[in-house]
């Protein structure tokens, strides 16, 4: 099972605010940079996250304004990790319904089953549709942590 910290305890390097990303690849690389900064993965993992979209299309844009970048476990992943990046300007990924993206979650796992705990927490947070715009507008990391805590806590559903 995952050793990923609860979402409201994301360390500073795992949160990047108002990242400048002119296109979707840059947006995914910003998430990769946060995974690298927090010691979770190498830059190569970012290229694999991009390759997932090149192969399958922008399916990682799973809700309006929200992309969840990820790839399979691999040697470029050192520790399970979740990071959150907000974009200075929303970016189109080419998704028919959910563009443009203003928040990118980056997810890395060292084993295929490792995601479960943190991903379940993400499901609790983002079932509230007001969270993506609120995160996009956040100006401090504490604000981001508070948003992840307020909605994620106490939901055992």
């Amino acid at each position: 099972m995952s050793q990923i910290l609860p979402l409201d305890q994301l360390p500073d390097p795992a949160i990047a605010l108002k990242a400048v990303a002119p296109d979707w690849r840059s947006a995914v690389r910003a998430a990769a940079a946060a995974l690298e900064a927090s010691g979770s993965a190498d830059a190569a993992y970012g290229e694999r996250m991009i390759a997932m979209v090149e192969e399958y299309g922008p399916y990682i844009v799973i809700a309006p304004g929200l992309a969840m970048a990820h790839a399979r476990p691999g040697p470029d992943v050192h520790a399970p990790g979740v990071v959150l990046v907000t974009l200075a300007e929303p970016v189109a990924f080419g998704h028919a319904h959910n563009d443009p993206v203003s928040v990118v979650i980056g997810l890395a796992a060292t084993e295929a089953d490792q995601h479960v705990a943190s991903v379940a927490a993400l499901a609790n947070v983002f079932n509230d549709e007001s969270v993506v715009p609120a995160l996009a507008a956040a100006t401090t990391r504490d604000e981001v942590r508070a948003l992840l805590a307020a909605t994620g806590a106490g939901s055992g559903a």
Partner: protein, 107 residues
């Protein structure tokens, strides 16, 4: 805890538990979100189902005896031949959408 009023139980057209597979490209992230929210939607509908998450490359095996595959529109073409009903979900966090589409597919 979000627990919207449970609807009257919908009998499924399939023998229960209905087997449902949620897919994504890698099998570690988005399919699990979809799985969790599909379970919540099925609870609302009162349909007994077994929901798993997998990557699109494994879907042939994982969904061999599934009645329903949940997917994003982008991944449909990668699923290949299947007897399962492929249901496309646009917003993985929209329980209304997921519930409505599962009610049509499974109910």
């Amino acid at each position: 805890m979000r627990n919207p009023a449970r609807r009257p139980r919908v009998p499924s057209r399939y023998p229960e538990p209905v087997k449902i597979v949620a897919i994504c490209g890698a099998g570690i992230g988005t399919s699990e979100i979809l799985r969790i929210n599909a379970v919540r939607a099925l609870e609302r509908l009162g349909i007994d189902a077994e929901v798993s998450a997998t990557d699109v490359g494994s879907v042939g095996v994982a969904a061999a005896d599934a009645q329903v595959i949940l997917s994003s529109a982008e991944l449909v073409s990668a699923i290949g031949r299947t007897n399962a009903d492929v249901v496309v979900i646009d917003n993985y966090f929209d329980l209304e959408e997921i519930t409505a589409k599962l009610e049509i597919a499974v109910g």
